[in-house]
């Protein structure tokens, strides 16, 4: 390439184009509608309504099953003859379906799934300065005087709610964290600055955009004017002082909310002034590209056991955990990479010292063999 073309690179326009392409997405619902149309084109044994073990079979697998059926029929038919010749005699046996090949196939499948991104970092809630409950007089619990505060300290945990059936696999998204210089440039193209690491733990790259002024826009209008309105699926929670656009991730069972490492809903946030105008926004970088891979999940039973398996110190409060929510959170993968990984968020409340607390426990939804 000549010097002339290098000089014409126009990095500012390239950044705007990057942001435009990353943010341009079809209308909400289009992805699901089109997928439903495609699903209707599948043969019945490939549709979601078919049993899992039937759906999971590839075309070659069906051919392989046919071959296995022929071999089994031959073995079953020949077994009495073979037993008679070896002196065992008696009633025919049944061929075992559990073979070393099946075990190899299992580990090969898991390795194939793990190979896409390799083993994943373990998602976890951050150990924060969450308050420890002050001990009241033994045996006396005061009624709660305020909303439950998050509590991440030790507790004696039991499981009280039903466990959801997880699909066989769940999607994991990976992203590359831009360099500080690129992040600053992309943030400036939105009229903001790159956000520093937050007190709520690890998050995907965020941009802070200051608002205010004589005629402050609404939260939606503010974000649209800066090209930062979420292009991803989300659910809006509008309060008097803050609007949160909770990011949602598509899974086989539906949309799942994102949380941060405190267990709080996460996505884009706009702080409002008393008149309802946008004061400040913190938004995920719109041009962040995600790549997708599916990972095998742990069983619901295993997840429940893991939720209550933490060490309980003497005197720690007893907490009964309810049914978990399947959520997604950003996890630091190191070396400039991050992941959005699925996890089960359990919670249970207890009262102590005149206050109400909520104990949160996070269990990865991915099979342990595919975690670091």
């Amino acid at each position: 390439m000549t010097d002339e073309t290098e000089a014409l690179a126009d990095p500012e326009l390239q950044s705007r184009l990057d942001a435009a392409f990353a943010a341009t997405r079809p209308r909400r619902g289009f992805e699901t509608e089109l997928w439903t149309r495609l699903e209707r084109r599948r043969p019945w044994w490939r549709r979601p309504t078919a049993p899992d073990f039937v759906r999971g079979l590839s075309g070659r697998a069906w051919a392989g099953l046919g071959a296995v059926a022929v071999v089994l029929a031959a073995v079953i038919g020949m077994t009495p003859v073979l037993l008679a010749h070896t002196g065992h005699g008696g009633a025919p046996g049944t061929a075992s379906l559990a073979s070393p090949a099946a075990g190899a196939a299992a580990s090969q499948s898991k390795e194939a799934a793990a190979a896409a991104f390799g083993k994943l970092p373990v998602p976890a809630l951050a150990a924060s300065g969450a308050p420890s409950p002050s001990l009241s007089r033994p045996g006396v619990d005061q009624p709660p005087t305020a909303a439950a505060q998050p509590y991440l300290g030790p507790a004696q945990l039991t499981l009280g709610g039903a466990l959801p059936a997880l699909p066989a696999t769940l999607p994991v998204w990976r992203f590359q964290v831009p360099s500080p210089a690129s992040l600053d440039e992309l943030a400036r193209s939105l009229g903001g600055t790159a956000a520093a690491a937050g007190a709520t733990g690890y998050r995907e790259p965020l941009v802070v955009i200051q608002g205010g002024g004589a005629t402050a826009a609404t939260a939606d209008g503010f974000l649209r004017a800066h090209g930062a309105y979420p292009a991803w699926p989300h659910q809006t929670h509008a309060g008097a002082a803050r609007v949160v656009y909770v990011r949602q991730f598509e899974t086989p069972g539906g949309l799942r909310d994102q949380i941060d490492q405190q267990g709080e809903p996460a996505g884009a946030e706009v702080d409002l002034d008393p008149s309802g105008g946008a004061q400040r926004a913190v938004v995920p970088l719109p041009s962040l590209r995600l790549t997708l891979s599916s990972y095998a999940t742990r069983t619901a039973t295993r997840a429940g056991q893991d939720a209550v398996s933490g060490p309980a110190t003497a005197g720690s409060p007893p907490v009964t955990l309810g049914s978990p929510l399947l959520v997604y959170l950003a996890v630091d993968g190191g070396a400039g990479r991050g992941f959005f990984e699925p996890a089960l968020l359990f919670a249970g409340t207890f009262n102590q010292g005149g206050s109400s607390f909520e104990k949160r426990v996070l269990v990865p939804a991915i099979d342990p063999s595919q975690l670091e």
């Binding site: 184009l17 070659r60 090209g227 997708l292 599916s294």
Partner: protein, 179 residues
């Protein structure tokens, strides 16, 4: 291990992801590329659907060793965009010879969630000459210059030259306030 559990672990064909993974990963990118080529969100949505229906039908024959999933999908998308322009050209010529029908207002509930700033930029790209808008669309859909060159039947260096000329033309076309 039970029979059903053994079947659950039957390995996926090597090197070829499940179609749904391709769909989830590339739907947004293909749509954005087609927006940049066609201009209107309705056309981009229609042609995106055509692309994935075609890809879905052809996936059994797709061989990863011949082309990456990105190259394969973007080739289908590129051809679909060119076909759309050819059909629209025929339709516009037809409309000039018959009485005009009353215009149909776009249903706001069906409109893509647009960013005002980006809409102008994407429309400016769609207004470029065909090879310039293609090179910008492919490059900003995540393809390398080598892959762009393969798509457009030119060398990597030729693709870079074309891209930089396209940027210059786009810059000149943008309204004063957004330059």
């Amino acid at each position: 291990m039970s029979h059903a559990a053994w079947l659950r672990y039957w390995p996926v064909p090597e090197g070829k992801p499940a179609f749904e993974e391709l769909y989830r990963e590339y739907l947004g990118r293909i749509y954005a590329f087609l927006r940049s080529q066609l201009g209107s969100p309705e056309d981009a949505e229609d042609v995106t659907a055509q692309v994935f229906v075609k890809a879905f039908k052809a996936y059994g024959r797709y061989q990863p060793r011949h082309a990456t999933p990105a190259a394969w999908l973007f080739q289908i998308a590129r051809n679909a965009a060119l076909d759309h322009h050819r059909r629209r050209g025929r339709q516009e010529r037809l409309e000039r010879t018959i009485a005009r029908q009353p215009g149909v207002t776009s249903d706001p509930s069906l409109m893509a969630e647009d960013h005002i700033l980006y809409r102008e930029l994407m429309e400016a790209v769609a207004a470029l000459p065909v090879r310039q808008r293609e090179v910008i669309g492919l490059r900003h859909s995540g393809l390398s210059f080598l892959q762009v060159g393969e798509q457009m039947r030119c060398s990597e260096d030729a693709a870079k030259m074309l891209y930089h000329r396209a940027l210059k033309a786009l810059r000149a076309q943008l309204p004063e306030k957004t330059r």
